[in-house]
């Protein structure tokens, strides 16, 4: 496409025709405030409804006279446009817009969950707003709380980022613009509670909300209460993606793994034992790998017995789908009841951890399950919903008592005056703390499948992969749907796919519906990029979501490469767990503790 030249504040800049004024201004480092605009709410999808008008600039060469236009949504089609971003007229218009927005926004910033993380608050600070001239009507909506996500629509500014990510990126379709005019807000169908909708609790709406209208439900107080209860033994486990995201909040380079500091910090908070969900990730690979090998063998036997490839696939319930991600499992139960039999029956690593902690570990240390409090630190909102599922509370005692997100953990550290940067590295406790490189990469799209492939190779051949063969690079990267053909043993190749983001999951599942023989294994994660982009991770404020995710991804693969053991089945604590307690992968006891069933739960 041809280039056009535009003059911004007297400086000429050349951009491709069709670029916006905002794009051109960025190129020469001219800052224009924005609010509803978000360059990437997920999978590279931009949100630019041009509804907030905070990016108004004055431009000539568009109409006969200079006009105010929104910079985010005004494309430059021809040469000769002249823009003033800081003319008196433009600045006055933007200030009026901001004051009008603030006139219908609660001013309880001090007690808001988004205090100091709020884009509206930041703008009010940058504009130097000291009083709000306009005193008019105000909206007032009741707060809607679910086990995972809380909505306070009184704070909604109708930027519609949440609606875009929910519909366009995730294709979940829970959120919609509701009503019109002054009282219009983004809500659910008929404004019903979120818990009654098709919401998967992926939390991507939480990640992109610029204000405090959609936030995670906090369990911080309950965790403090447990830690301070002398009758309770309180243990904590950390999900893989937390270690590459928490550091940025303490001045570490974004994406840098700070595992040792994280462990030391958790110990300083007062947890009795600090364990690793990665241990349970290795356990997942033992069970899921066993399942995959079983199904592939069944498939091979059926084809050798003369069955068609399609019948053999249906009979062996291929492709197997991963089941680590609770957001994805919610999506499956809501929208794909015809495929409920093909996911792995494995619980997620979080729930495996809880089940083992409240049985094997509780017995080992002689504590009653009800006196053992298990806390998970997760990058995720859906994990809160998962932990509250009734099937994960045998006898009414929950396997996972509380889930806090990476963001909530950062707040706990701040409240306790703990700065991770000042701590010496700590080590995870035994026996639920040892993990391998295969488990660490669970936190990024493709990682679960790669970890499984590494162990499946050993299960089929009896030999461990070594050298570079351990790296299955074909399933790495942030692309939404990845496909690869992988040789898992001499003469046995499987077609695999990896989907992250529920819109991409939908694409992969439609492929499965059309052709059951196309893939034998599919990894699915609800959040685009996997858990590194989970709904509970630190906010990405600069708009460069892809860059942030690439850094977190690189951190996880570096951690994997640096681990002495990179195969789940070589984890010595896992071996011990099977020897002492579970027997073999797929044993009756393993099934009882580590596997689950899925339920049809159609939501419109």
């Amino acid at each position: 496409m041809a280039n056009v030249t535009v003059t911004i504040n007297g400086t000429k800049v050349e951009v491709p025709a069709g670029a916006t004024i905002l794009d051109a201004a960025k190129k020469i480092n001219v800052h224009i405030p924005t609010l509803c605009y978000c360059p990437d709410v997920g999978c590279g999808t931009a949100n630019k409804p041009a509804s907030c008008r905070l990016c108004l600039v004055e431009a000539s060469g568009i109409r006969p006279r200079p006009v105010l236009v929104p910079a985010c949504a005004t494309p430059l089609a021809r040469d000769g446009v002249e823009v003033w971003t800081n003319s008196a007229r433009a600045m006055k218009a933007r200030r009026t817009v901001l004051e009008l927005l603030l006139s219908d926004h609660p001013q309880n910033c001090l007690t808001c969950a988004k205090n100091q993380e709020c884009e509206l608050q930041k703008l009010a600070s940058e504009f130097g707003i000291r009083e709000i001239e306009y005193q008019g009507a105000r909206n007032n909506f009741p707060i809607d709380e679910s086990p995972a996500i809380m909505r306070d629509l009184t704070k909604c500014i109708m930027c519609r980022r949440c609606e875009t990510v929910c519909n366009k990126v995730q294709t979940v379709g829970t959120l919609t613009g509701n009503g019109r005019g002054f009282s219009a807000k983004v809500g659910t169908a008929s404004m019903i509670p979120l818990a009654d909708t098709s919401c998967t609790f992926c939390g991507q709406c939480v990640n992109v909300c610029p204000v405090g209208a959609i936030v995670g439900v906090s369990y911080v107080k309950k965790v403090w209460d447990a830690i301070n209860d002398p009758k309770k033994t309180v243990i904590v486990s950390t999900a893989p993606a937390v270690r590459v995201a928490v550091g940025q909040e303490f001045g570490f380079e974004p994406g840098k793994p700070v595992t040792g500091k994280l462990v030391a910090g958790l110990r300083a908070l007062g947890f009795d034992k600090v364990f690793d969900t990665d241990f349970a990730a290795d356990l997942t690979i033992m069970e899921e790998g066993h399942e995959l090998v079983g199904r592939v063998k069944e498939f091979i036997a059926a084809t050798q017995a003369g069955k068609s490839v399609k019948d053999a696939s249906l009979g062996a319930r291929l492709p197997i789908l991963t089941s680590c991600c609770p957001g994805w499992i919610n999506f499956l139960e809501h929208h794909f009841p015809d495929l409920l039999d093909i996911p792995s029956s494995c619980k997620s690593p979080q729930q495996m951890f809880g089940a083992i902690a409240k049985s094997y570990y509780a017995e080992k240390i002689g504590v009653k399950p009800e006196d053992l409090i298990v806390v998970s630190v997760m990058p995720c909102q859906a994990k809160k919903y998962e932990a509250a599922r009734p099937e994960f509370a045998p006898g009414g005692i929950r396997d996972i008592d509380y889930v806090v997100t990476t963001r909530e953990l950062v707040r706990m550290f701040h409240e306790a005056g703990i700065n991770l940067a000042n701590l010496e590295d700590g080590e995870y406790d035994s026996p639920l703390g040892e993990s391998t490189g295969a488990a660490v990469i669970f936190g990024v799209t493709g990682g679960v499948l790669e970890a499984a492939l590494r162990s499946v190779h050993t299960m089929l051949t009896g030999e461990n992969l070594g050298g570079d063969a351990i790296n299955f690079r074909a399933v790495r990267g942030l692309e939404g749907v990845k496909e690869a053909k992988v040789e898992v043993a001499p003469g046995i190749s499987v077609n695999v796919a990896v989907a992250s983001g529920l819109g991409n999951a939908r694409k992969a599942l439609e492929m499965v519906r059309q052709d059951r023989t196309r893939f034998q294994a599919i990894e699915i994660m609800a959040c685009p990029g996997g858990c590194i982009n989970g709904g509970g991770q630190p906010y990405i404020h600069d708009g460069d979501r892809k860059g942030a995710l690439e850094r977190r991804m690189a951190g996880l693969y570096a951690e994997d490469a640096g681990k002495p053991i990179r195969l789940s089945h070589e984890n010595s604590d896992i071996k011990k767990l099977y020897e002492e307690y579970l027997g073999e992968p797929g044993s009756e006891k393993a099934h009882h503790l580590l596997h689950t069933v899925y339920h049809e739960n159609i939501r419109s």
Binding site: N167, T174, T176, T188, S604
Partner: protein, 175 residues
Amino acid sequence: MCEHGCSCSSAAAEKFAELDTFIDGLKLDPADARRRGRLIQILHRAQHIFGYLPREVQQHVAQKMRIPESAVSGVVSFYNFFSTKPKGKYVINVCLGTACYVKGSEGVLRELERVLGVKADTDPTPDGLFSLTALRCVGCCGLAPVMVVNDKVYGKVTPAKAVAVVEEIRAREAK
């Protein structure tokens, strides 16, 4: 219980069947994103059949069209034409557009509120016979002030004339 999972009567089941016949006749392709363009047309018919658009009807439309319920709800809540509350058998619309207003339509509206015992743009009369709503311009300002009862337009209405129309309907319905 009817087949739609609600506790509606067979009369309601007939209405759902009528709506289904209409939607099926549109031959929507579930693989074609443009099917959403038919939503307003379908809701228009649904409101004609049911009189209003309660949540069960919205859910039914969503399932039939294979679109999220939120997509239906968003449209229903946006347009004033669509109502989620039942309306009376006779919907009396009084125009408060400029021409009708200066010709005294507000007096007509107030008199109807008094006679019917309900405020405009609220619930129907307790007997379910009348709903009273105000609207802005029907496009026949020459007849101002204008009152529309269901599909019938009354021109040059006075408070007394409006009450006479109500009385006539009441008498007819009492038979």
